[in-house]
Symmetry: C2
Subunit: 352 residues, 2 copies
């Protein structure tokens, strides 16, 4: 990026957000979410674990390194092409553990049910959860159920937490990107978000858009076997790859330069995004990962990923740069450059 | 209990509950909750951890014994005399860890916020959580925030999960009660539930009824120092001491005989229960515990509890018997006996 643009951007302060009420955008994963975390949660709970702003905490317990994470799932509709809220709740938490290099071991699940939810639906969700647990090789060991009166919830919300063990002697965290590192994306973007949106909006395409929800432990295991130069790992869920890359850029205090042409996206997903006026960079994925890898090891890791069923379409989509720190810039298909910022509002509420 | 009553009871089968929809009672902690767990969750996830039906799982990880637990909190109103949903969410999960004999270490918190929630309220809740973490000596290390649209939630739901370490070589579980064991209750019953109900119903009493929400790790530590004959520990939250004692009776396949006169209850709480037609045995407590202790050690443990600020009003309220297995029977104040069954429906929705 040229100097002028960088100077211009540096002079634009992020506005101080002083809302009095929770907005839908506070759940977007974008700027308002970051605001809530930085101005409300972090000041209250300030501690070194939380301050890392990773999707999981890495804890030293009795000589073992454990990963611990939690996520609530409030997706609507609860059943969508390629999955349901139960499958998502298991895979999402498994993946948050895996992104620290941990082997996921145990899950908990807490259900908030709305009075009137069909028990047949609940049963189907629970079956999906068990299937997902078996696929990922984790055990659901503890749980809770609460019921709220009609109109105080929306069918079912599920909060899963997970515990895993980090057996390798490595530290993977959003603050470890280095200049020159390559950015690898494991496959096509925006499948999950557009599967949910298409279902919700009743859109019909020639082929059905299907969520990519999947556990990524096997893929990450293959990557870790291939190289120890894996610096950051993130699953770009809510807020999409734009949000994930911005978070890493901020935490590592470096810039990112992306190449739009190399970002894989299915034609039908691209079409759906255009119809709905949604930028696919900001759309949730539920079975993809972004990896920041040492330059010299990137090709080796990429090759290993492409040999794995969950990484067949992996691509190097850009690199970490010293220019424009804390900013993500993309060379567009038509030859210009564009800043890929954190999302301001909420474009896709309740996608996960 | 005489033979006739026992025979009569044995011939009353628990009805097979075949509802098509989730009812408020499925969240009561009583019969319908047990039904959901036994007929829906357990068959799907069946594994030895879950089958113990304790409030936490005890896991062997790399040579350490860890406790892991989760609970969602949906109490309404979110602020009540003596606490708020945040304080409850921390203390509740701390206590579920402690009831396995664990030292609580780390918590996670997942928030489901309703669009329109006051940020000042959220801030106050978060401050309460931090205070509660400090009091209990735990660190909140990871979290998540989701927002649902207006009318799809109710202000704020919080799900906390916790991890602790069991350093003593003992096993505390609901299936370990023995005939002759004494049942100790750490203090007065029904304070939390009636504090919330009084606030919700706008009842005014001479003195304000205040929730007993408190972390119990310090009290349990004192008890564990005093004796290794602590067989079961439970915090009688949702469903009250009636539910907790029924669960232990079922898991241990033994009976319980209680003495009503010895169950401590504040006069104002008793009065509120009478006005609202609620049986205090079924009302939630959030800072009390029930302990099943080897007969010869009970007095020693009781003395130690009474010397602790959180156990001043502790009482031996009954004993474990071989008669009427899986049933809790109480000698009433007026000299009769009464069966204290699991609650059928829901008397106090959204109390925690």
């Amino acid at each position: 990026m040229d100097e002028d643009l960088s100077t211009f951007l540096g002079s634009c302060p992020v506005p101080f957000l002083d809302y009095k009420e929770v907005l839908l955008g506070h759940g977007s994963g974008g700027k308002l979410t970051a605001d809530l975390v930085e101005k409300l949660f972090l000041p209250a709970f300030r501690n070194p674990y939380l301050e890392k702003l990773d999707d999981q905490a890495v804890l030293e317990v009795n000589g073992s390194r454990l990963a611990f994470t939690t996520d609530s799932f409030v997706v609507t509709p609860i059943f969508f092409p390629g999955g349901d809220i139960g499958r998502l709740a298991v895979n999402g938490t498994v993946n948050d553990l895996v992104m620290s290099g941990a082997r996921p071991l145990y899950l908990s699940a807490a259900f908030i049910l709305e009075e009137g939810l069909s028990l047949a639906d609940l049963q189907q969700i629970v079956r999906s959860m068990q299937e997902a647990c078996e696929t990922a090789g984790v055990i659901l060991v503890t749980g809770d159920t609460k019921v709220v009166n009609r109109g105080s919830g929306d069918k079912v919300f599920i909060t899963t937490s997970g515990m895993g063990i980090i057996e390798r002697d490595l530290i993977i965290s959003a603050d470890r990107a280095k200049v020159g590192d390559k950015i690898i994306l494991s496959g096509t973007i925006a499948d999950h978000g557009m599967a949910v949106m298409s279902k919700r909006e009743g859109l019909e395409f020639e082929t059905e858009i299907v969520s990519d929800t999947a556990p990524l432990n096997s893929l990450v295991e293959a990557m870790l076997e291939a190289s120890s130069a894996i610096h950051c790992l993130r699953d770009p869920t809510r807020g999409g790859i734009a949000t994930t890359l911005n978070e890493i850029a901020r935490r590592s205090n470096l810039g990112m330069l992306l190449d739009e042409k190399r970002i894989p996206i299915r034609e039908d997903v691209k079409g759906a995004c255009e119809i709905l006026g949604i930028d696919p960079l900001y759309v949730a994925n539920e079975g993809k990962l972004v990896a920041i890898i040492g330059r010299d090891e990137a090709e080796k890791v990429l090759e290993r990923m492409r040999g794995h069923r969950d990484g067949k379409e992996a691509q190097i989509i850009g690199e970490v740069v010293a220019d424009h720190p804390r900013m993500v810039v993309m060379r567009t298909g038509i030859g210009g450059t564009r800043i890929v910022d954190l999302m301001m509002g909420e474009q896709l509420p309740r996608i996960c």
